[in-house]
């Protein structure tokens, strides 16, 4: 019963989001950038490498901003839904999926369509594209979940949006700066293992490592790159990486749901 309610809310919300001009702009953005990179680089692998940075930069930001704005704008409608004989968990799930699914699909379509039109190149590029799309979809889910957590916990839209952008800055920029500083400070010590842990603790870094290891650029990272390649290249490492990304989705969703259940609307 409750899964049915969640699916229904998600379906109607998704059809609302799919008609939004912002989503169209988002799909268009990735389609244009991917197409341009394919034309200028003339080579699928190099286009993909350039695309990695765009994806790691844009997907978390858009998911956070779109996610918080969406939940704040849906505040009155959420109250209408809560007044129906439906529990809060399915409503939360429905609202979340109603945004995350169109956003992730929009991203995937925007990136994949130009490749489909230009032709894929070799099999390795196809596998890398699949990894890129998977990482982008995972990051969308991670950051939409974080956005929902923030927007559920704070009733103030301005503060919520501020916190969302703060999270993006923290994960996208400050975290790497702090890690780099720590590496420089402890350069006399073997930092590879702690560094591995630090990568797992930031979803953007995790996606970056997983993606860069698909290219032949891991060697540029020197000994650290070799450690990463050995770890993430193995089955165990891949499972740990996938589990960490999953954790980055599950924990914010669980915390957000807890806040949503207790919230006074």
């Amino acid at each position: 019963m409750s899964a049915r309610a969640a699916t229904k809310v998600a379906a109607y919300q998704a059809s609302n989001v799919l008609r939004s001009r912002w989503l169209l702009a988002y799909v268009g953005f990735f389609a244009v950038v991917t197409d341009a990179l394919l034309r200028f680089d003339g080579d699928a692998t190099r286009a993909l490498l350039s695309l990695v940075n765009v994806v790691l930069f844009v997907v978390p930001l858009v998911a956070l901003v779109f996610g918080t704005t969406y939940l704040y704008d849906a505040r009155e409608f959420t109250e209408v839904l809560l007044a129906q004989p439906v529990g809060r968990p399915p409503l939360f799930a429905g609202l979340l999926l109603g945004l995350a699914v169109p956003l992730a699909s929009g991203f995937a379509a925007g990136v994949a369509l130009p490749f489909a039109l230009h032709g894929m190149g070799d099999r390795a590029s196809a596998a890398t594209l699949a990894t890129l799309v998977a990482c982008g979809v995972a990051l969308t889910l991670v950051f939409v979940s974080l956005a929902f957590l923030v927007a559920t916990r704070s009733n103030d839209k301005v503060r919520g949006l501020g916190a969302a952008v703060g999270l993006w800055l923290a994960f996208g920029l400050l975290y790497d700066g702090a890690v780099l500083l720590a590496v420089a400070l402890f350069s006399d010590y073997p930092v590879e293992r702690p560094l591995l842990g630090a990568m797992l603790a930031n979803p953007i870094d995790l996606a970056r490592v997983l993606l860069l290891l698909r290219f032949d650029v891991a060697a540029l990272l020197g000994y650290t790159g070799a450690v990463f390649a050995r770890f993430f290249g193995g089955t165990g490492g891949a499972i740990v990486a996938a589990a960490a990304l999953l954790g980055w989705i599950v924990v914010p969703v669980a915390l957000g749901l807890r806040a949503f259940r207790r919230k006074d609307f």
């Binding site: 809310v9 529990g87 809060r88 006074d264």
Partner: protein, 242 residues
């Protein structure tokens, strides 16, 4: 129909409801009045399940409300009508019908016709005026023929004709044996619709009873004066007690 016993709710240091007791019988319209910040909306939201009360009990049809199923018997019209802007009004109605799993034959769509909403149903909700969205909101409250209607400032933003249509609908619901809980700042409107009045001051019900009783006990010919007189007395009492 609806019984509220000793309901309490606080937001941080602010005790909004301090032991509210209230009963609404089937076939009666009760108007909740009180100064701004008295706790009217919090009380309504507690009944609908939007706010979580700290203590007390709410019974609907004699059964304590727990879980979510009880809301099938409630039609709620919120003060502000904002819906997913890219959906059409028809899709919105379909969504809620779908969510409740209601059969088309059980729906009360009289207001769609009376408000002449048909031409607007195919437009996206963002293209509708505030008043038209409020009409859609009213349709939603009555759609599932609920036993209890909860209307928060229902006529705010409606033109006089639509307002009259809605008031007729409320009176018809009462005639059909439904219970109605409404808030309004327009006393003339309450006079028109309500059988009972409950005055909420500082989180407590300081008067609850038939409109006639209130008029008689205050010696005032009109509800507006009677409520004002009672309010001034009660607010003075509260301040003296403090």
């Amino acid at each position: 129909m609806l019984e509220i016993h000793d309901l309490t709710k606080r937001f941080g240091a602010n005790a909004v409801l301090r032991g509210v007791n209230l009963t609404i019988a089937a076939g009666r319209v009760l108007a909740l009045v009180g100064p701004n910040g008295a706790g009217k909306t919090t009380l309504i939201k507690s009944v609908v399940g939007l706010a979580r009360p700290d203590g007390g009990e709410i019974r609907l049809g004699g059964i304590p409300v727990v879980g979510d199923a009880y809301r099938a018997g409630i039609g709620y019209m919120s003060q502000i009508a904002r819906f997913p802007e890219n959906l059409t009004a028809a899709e919105l109605l379909a969504m809620l019908v779908d969510l409740r799993g209601a059969a088309a034959s059980d729906l009360d769509e009289e207001l769609v016709e009376r408000f002449a909403l048909a031409p607007h149903l195919r437009k996206p909700l963002r293209a509708l005026s505030g008043g038209t969205r409020q009409k859609v909101n009213a349709v939603l409250a009555f759609l599932f023929r609920p036993d209890l209607l909860i209307l928060d400032e229902p006529t705010a933003g409606l033109d006089p004709v639509s307002s009259a249509i809605l008031k007729d609908k409320v009176l018809a619901a009462r005639g059909a044996g439904r219970a109605v809980l409404l808030t309004s700042h327009v006393m003339a409107e309450i006079e028109e619709m309500a059988d009972d009045v409950a005055l909420l001051v500082e989180g407590r019900v300081s008067f609850a009873g038939p409109v006639d009783t209130l008029l008689r006990s205050t010696g005032q010919p009109r509800l507006e004066r009677a409520v004002a007189k009672l309010l001034i007395e009660r607010v003075d009492d509260v301040q003296e007690a403090a």
